[in-house]
């Protein structure tokens, strides 16, 4: 049971992070091609700025949030960590998990509303008279935040088994 759950958590978070990784590589190729084509062929690739901002950036920033949450990479202030050990440390870890989960849930709900609004409007941006739909990328946020909320709870209430894979 425990192992299945652990594996599921790893699979889900890594899956989303992998999509983010694709975003990194795509951004690298796209911007480089844009600069090369502008300087060598004097024809910039249209809509590069829009696609980089609305798709790659969104993917890179949000898809790996749950993955980073699982790996404990979120930055916090560790000044009192010597005091937060043992029982108090456990209670505090649960408190942190609840606050974190609550914040992610609020973000999930609010960004979901926005995503539905953009979906209904089929929103797009105009780049040199070409309309580029951007509404799909709005759904990245609620999905990423929802998974992050689950991971935060999971990490708080089910502390990593000793020797568990990172």
């Amino acid at each position: 049971m425990r192992q299945t759950l652990d594996r599921l958590v790893v699979r889900l978070t890594s899956g989303l992070a992998l999509l983010g990784a694709v975003g990194v590589v795509a951004m690298l190729i796209h911007i480089t091609a844009y600069v090369l084509s502008r300087n060598l062929l004097a024809t910039p690739i249209p809509a590069t700025v829009e696609i980089v901002s609305h798709y790659y950036m969104i993917a890179i920033a949000f898809l790996p949030v749950a993955w980073a949450e699982r790996r404990g990479e979120m930055i916090s202030v560790e000044i009192f960590s010597p005091l937060l050990v043992g029982r108090i440390g456990r209670i505090n870890a649960i408190f942190v998990a609840l606050v974190t989960c609550g914040a992610y849930l609020a973000l999930t709900y609010t960004t979901w509303i926005v995503a539905m609004r953009e979906f209904t409007a089929r929103s797009y941006v105009i780049s040199l008279s070409v309309a580029i739909p951007v509404w799909p990328s709005y759904f990245v946020l609620p999905v990423s935040f929802a998974l992050a909320a689950l991971i935060a709870l999971y990490r708080g209430f089910v502390p990593a088994a000793p020797g568990a894979a990172k």
Partner: protein, 434 residues
């Protein structure tokens, strides 16, 4: 009433931070609950709903993942490995040459890498063992590299400067330009420290370093050319206007990839490691940015930002007094917080003050990064010191490393004074572009 709420929000934020709630989460939670309590649920939802997408969907911010990627590829692909050897060959006749070589190598590394932790970690691993073998006092060797690492965030590219530029709505390219002189001056100060120590304290830096292997100049040059080409590509393109600071990251990463392939070190592991580390850094960094934007709105709505800048006005602080206050605030914060958190928690309050006092935001960006980097080497929480302790733990304890950075810290404080007294030192290069 709202001001009370804003101040309460600030207090709650600090409590949550002390309880190790992640910085981003603490700022999101306080802004949401705070705006809800002040103005009702709908505005609170509004702030949470639109901020994340609007902040992240930004062309300027795309420089962050690309510069990170460039640094990671250069490092994992072995491009940076030859820097220290090359500097050693050039400086073998100079007293304290090995330590100076480490600082020079840090500066070279800094021009392809935007993070001071990465700079300290990668050069610390190479340079500290050699310095200790040559007879350097281990604590001084470790301190040199912990301090040298801070150059990483000063010489462009610099992730801190990009995020500052976005927040302060000022030109990243200009802040980068200012960072060049601040970074080089920092390196110069550190080199002076090493020269002085080499002259006055033979027990810390030996007069005749032992056990230095003979280096073949030709071989060393072969090891260092790829990184020089990469630096020339990025800075050449930037200065000549072939690409912007935002695009330079991607071009640099592509260039690094090509150079790693040319030197025959490109494999799946290098790619995988570089992309994953980029992703991990972005995920933890950008969400703090999102939280900080929300917190900025909350403070603005509550009137606290105005109250604080008003208070500063009413005290009628002159430039020097204001700078002393700012330096003290950041030195204190730097003791306990990592730089991104410290910067993003404070900018919402500080920017209105700076604007009211007509302080040049390009200059302040460089100055701020310098102050934040000092925080990387001050006790009790100096991230660079921790990372040096991790990569060179067998040579120096945590206390040793902190002792080793003392002289460099003193040099930093002198430099901070110079930057306040002569802002043109920083503004000279940016002014060429204006």
């Amino acid at each position: 009433m709202n001001v009370t709420m804003g101040l309460a929000g600030l207090a709650v934020l600090f409590v949550l931070l002390a309880l190790q709630v992640p910085i981003a989460i603490a700022m999101v939670a306080v802004s949401f609950v705070g705006v809800w309590a002040m103005l009702g649920l709908a505005p609170a939802i509004g702030i949470l709903a639109n901020t994340p997408y609007e902040f992240i969907a930004s062309w300027t911010l795309s420089a962050v993942p690309m510069f990170l990627l460039m640094g990671f590829i250069a490092f994992h692909g072995g491009l940076t490995a030859g820097l220290f050897d090359a500097a050693k060959v050039g400086l073998r006749k100079v007293p304290g040459g090995l330590g100076i070589a480490a600082i020079v190598a840090c500066s070279g590394f800094a021009s392809v890498c935007g993070s001071s932790l990465a700079t300290a970690a990668s050069l610390g691993r190479i340079a500290i063992p050699e310095m200790v073998r040559a007879g350097y006092k281990p604590s001084f060797a470790a301190g040199t590299l912990a301090a040298g690492g801070t150059i990483g965030a000063l010489i462009p590219p610099s992730i801190l400067m990009i995020i500052y530029g976005v927040f302060a709505e000022t030109s990243v390219t200009q802040v980068f330009m200012g960072g060049i002189s601040a970074g080089l001056l920092t390196a110069a100060c550190y080199i002076i420290v090493i020269l002085l120590v080499a002259r006055l304290r033979r027990d810390v830096i030996p007069a005749e370093p032992e056990g230095l292997e003979e280096l073949d100049t030709r071989k060393v040059m072969l090891g260092v050319w790829p990184i020089l080409v990469l630096i020339a590509l990025v800075f050449g393109g930037l200065f000549s206007g072939l690409f912007t600071a935002t695009e330079a990251g991607a071009v640099g990463a592509a260039g690094a990839l090509a150079l790693v392939a040319l030197t025959g070190r490109l494999n799946r592991q290098v790619l995988r490691q570089s992309v994953l580390e980029t992703l991990g850094t972005c995920a933890s960094l950008f969400i703090i940015g999102v939280g900080a934007v929300m917190f900025t709105r909350f403070l603005g709505l509550s009137g606290v930002a105005g109250l604080i800048s008003g208070a500063v006005q009413s005290y009628d602080l002159n430039y020097v007094q204001l700078m002393v206050v700012i330096v003290i605030i950041y030195l204190l914060l730097g003791m306990f917080m990592e730089p991104f958190g410290a910067m993003l928690v404070t900018l919402p309050v500080l920017l209105p003050v700076l604007n009211a006092q007509n302080i040049d935001l390009v200059w302040f960006g460089v100055f701020l990064v310098k102050l934040l980097e000092i925080g990387m080497i001050t006790p009790p929480l100096g991230m660079n010191v921790f990372v040096i302790r991790n990569v060179a733990g067998q040579y120096a304890s945590l206390t040793d490393v902190f002792k080793g950075v003392t002289l460099f810290l003193a040099a930093d404080l002198v430099l901070v004074t110079v930057l306040v007294a002569f802002p043109d030192v920083v503004l000279f290069l940016p002014s060429l572009l204006r």
